[in-house]
Amino acid sequence: MAQTAFLESLPQSASQTKLPVESALDESWRDLYLKAFRFMQRARVIEDKLASLYRSGKITGGCYVGRGNEAVAVSAGIALNKGDVFAPLIRDQAGRLAYGESPADAFRTYLGSRLGPMRGRDGNVHRGRPAEGYLAMISHLGAMVSAATGMLLGRRLRGEPTGIAIVTLGEGATSTGAFHEGLNLAAVEKLPVVVVVSNNLYAYSTPNSRQFACESLVHRARGYGVRGWDVDGTDLNDCLKKITAAAQDARQTGLPQLVVATLLRLSGHGEHDDAFYVDATLKTLPVARDCLAVAEEFILQTNLADWGEILEWKEEAKREVESILAEVQREPVPDPFEERWCCLATPGLCEGIDGV
C-alpha cells in the first residue's frame, strides 16, 4: 500500500490537546465548545440508530456514517448562520444538526418518508432544502462546489449580501475535475466559499497513496489563490478554532478558503463495509483518535462538565432520537399511484402526462 512515507509524516504521538489559554477563560468559547460537543454526541446517537436500522434490514440501499468526522462536521455547521449556504456530504450528520437540520430529516430520508425533504424520491445522505440555502448533494463527488459557488453568485448578482458557503468533501473527492473547476471558479469569482476537505486517509478502500502525491492537500490552496488551513480533525478545539476562523475570514474578505482536516475514518465506507483494508499501524496513531472521545476527555480535564452531565446529555439525546424515530416511522411513505411521474416544474410539458 506504499503508505510508509505517509505514515512517517504523521505525528507519532498525540499532540497534547491543549486548552487555548485565551479560550479557557472565555465563557462564550466554552459555550460554543459544549454546544458543538452535544451536536457531535447527538449525531453519533442518530448514526448509531441508523446503523442499527440498516442491520435490521429497515433501510433499503446503503447507510453511511460520519464516525470520526464529527469534529470537522460540527465546526462547519456551527460556523454558518441561517441563510448561509451549506453543501454537506456523506459524513456530516453533526454539521447538518448544527446548521439547523431537524434530526427527523435524517430518518425521513433514509426511510423514504413522504414528509421528508426528499419525499422518498432520493435517500439517505442525499438530502437538503435548497430553498433555504441547504443543498442536496448529488452522488457525483465534487459537483456541489460549483453549485454552492453559484448560489452566492446569484445572490451577488441580485445585489444581496451573499453570506458564505461551506462545502464539505473527502480527500478522494479532491481528485475529481468538478472539485478543481469549482474551487477555481469560486476563486475567480471571488466568492466566500469555504471548502472543507476531510482527509480521513481513505476514499472507500483507497489510501492516500493512490489518491494524490502531494505532501498535504492544503498546499493546493496557493495554487488556487485561496487561503489554506491545516486542521487536526481529531481535535474539536482545533476544528472549531480554525474552521470558524476560516468562515470568519471568508465573511470579512469575501474570498474562498481551503480547509484540510486530517483524521481517520472510524467506520467502513458504508455500514456494509468492514474496512479490512485499513492499515493496522494507522489505527494506533493519534490520527486514529475518536474525536468524540478526545472532546469528552477535554471536557472532563478542563471541568467544562462532569461525567454525569456528559452521560445525561447522551441519554437525553437517545430519548429524543428514539421518539423522533418512532414518529418518523409512522409517517406516510410514497404511494406510486399518487405520483404524477412528472419531473418538470413547468406545467404542460411532461410527455404522456400533460397531454403532450
Binding site: 453549485a147 446569484g154 445572490r155 448578482l157 475535475g177 468538478a178 471558479l185 416544474a345 413547468t346
Partner: protein, 322 residues
C-alpha cells in the same frame, strides 16, 4: 432591414435581460468579446455586470448556473460549441435535470448549444447533441429551425420555462438564415409546425434539416409530389399529435435528422408513429440520419456525411414508391 438567426438569438437574450433581473449570461468569451459566434455582441455594454466570462470549466459553469437558479436567477449558459457540453454533461443530466424532482426547487437555466455541422469544423465542433439530452428526464430540448423560432423559443426558454432547457441552435443558420423582422406573436415551443403543406408524405425533421427538407420537397413538387414538412421545433417533449395528424393526411413518413443514426429523434418519431399511428401508415416509415462515423473535416466527406436536399429527395422517392 433583415434579421439573421444569430441576431434573433442576440435580441432574445437582450429582451430577456431587459425583462427579468434574474437573467444573466455565463460562458467563455461572452462578455467583451461577445461570444465565439457573436451571439452576445454588445450585450455587456447594455447590461453591465450581467454578462460574465468564465474559465474553461464547463462542469463548473453549469454547476454555478444550477446554484444561481436555485436562488431564483434565470441563467443562460453559452457553451462555446455544443460538443464541449460533454464536459458539463454530468451537471446537466444529473444535477440540473433532477433538482426540481428531488427537492421541489425549480432549475430554470437555459443552456445554449451552438450545434451542428459546418464545413471544415471536424469531429469536435460539429455535433448535434439533442439525442443524449432528450433521453434524460427533467430537460426540455429545443431545436429551432427559423429566425422567428430562434427568437421566440429562446425567450420562452429563458423567461417562461422553469426547467433546464437545452437550446440547440444551429451554427449553419447563424449568418445565412434571414427574416424580415423579429416575430411579434409566437407558437409555444412545445408545438410542432407544418412548415409546408402536402398530401403524399410527411417529412418530420428539425433544426437545419428543415431547410434541406424544404429544398427536397421543392424537387419533389416538380415531380408531382406534395410533401408535408413537419418542423418539430422542440424534440423533448415531442409533439406527437401534430406528427400523427400529418401522417393521417399523408399515410407516409420520413424522419430526417442530422445526428448519428442510432437512436435519437428519428427513432423516436418513427417508433411513435408506428405505435400510435400504425393504421395511418400506407408504407413503412423511414429514417434518414447522418452516417455512423464522427463528423468528418474535409468538405467532400462532410457533405456526404449528413443528409442533404438530394439525399432527402432520394429517400422521399423511395418512400413514395414503397
Amino acid at each position: 432591414m433583415s434579421v439573421t438567426y444569430l441576431d434573433a438569438i442576440r435580441e432574445a437574450q437582450a429582451k430577456a435581460l431587459a425583462s427579468h433581473p434574474g437573467v444573466f449570461i455565463y460562458g467563455q468569451d461572452v462578455a467583451l468579446f461577445g461570444g465565439a459566434f457573436k451571439a452576445t455582441k454588445n450585450l455587456l455594454q447594455q447590461f453591465p455586470g450581467r454578462i460574465l466570462d468564465t474559465p474553461i470549466s464547463e462542469d463548473a459553469m453549469v454547476g454555478a448556473a444550477i446554484g444561481a437558479a436555485a436562488e431564483g436567477m434565470r441563467p443562460i449558459v453559452e457553451m462555446q460549441f455544443a460538443d464541449f457540453s460533454t464536459v458539463g454533461f454530468n451537471q446537466i443530466v444529473n444535477h440540473a435535470a433532477t433538482l426540481f424532482w428531488r427537492t421541489g426547487v425549480p432549475c430554470p437555466i437555459t443552456i445554449r448549444l451552438p450545434s451542428g455541422g459546418t464545413m471544415g469544423s471536424g469531429p469536435f465542433h460539429s455535433q448535434m447533441m439533442e439525442t443524449v439530452y432528450a433521453h434524460y428526464p427533467g430537460l426540455v430540448v429545443m431545436t429551432p429551425a427559423t429566425v422567428e423560432d430562434a427568437y421566440s423559443m429562446l425567450l420562452e426558454a429563458v423567461l417562461e420555462i422553469d426547467d433546464p432547457v437545452i437550446f440547440c441552435e444551429h451554427k449553419m443558420l447563424y449568418y445565412h438564415l434571414k427574416a424580415p423582422a423579429l416575430p411579434t406573436v409566437a407558437l409555444p415551443a412545445k408545438h410542432a409546425r407544418i412548415a409546408r403543406h402536402g398530401k403524399h408524405a410527411t417529412l418530420a425533421t428539425y433544426s437545419a434539416m428543415v431547410h434541406e427538407a424544404l429544398l427536397a420537397s421543392q424537387q419533389l413538387a416538380t415531380e408531382g409530389f406534395e410533401i408535408e414538412v413537419v418542423d418539430l421545433r422542440t424534440v423533448k417533449p415531442l409533439d406527437t399529435d401534430t406528427l400523427l395528424a400529418s401522417v393521417a393526411r399523408t399515410g407516409r413518413l420520413l424522419a430526417v435528422g442530422e445526428s448519428f443514426p442510432w437512436g435519437g429523434v428519428t427513432a423516436e418519431v418513427v417508433s411513435r408513429a408506428a405505435d400510435e399511428g400504425f393504421a395511418l401508415l400506407d408504407a413503412p416509415p423511414r429514417r434518414l440520419n447522418a452516417k455512423d462515423t464522427p463528423v468528418p473535416y474535409h468538405p467532400n466527406l462532410w457533405t456526404a456525411h449528413r443528409p442533404s436536399a438530394n439525399s432527402i429527395a432520394a429517400a422521399l422517392r423511395d418512400l413514395l414508391r414503397s
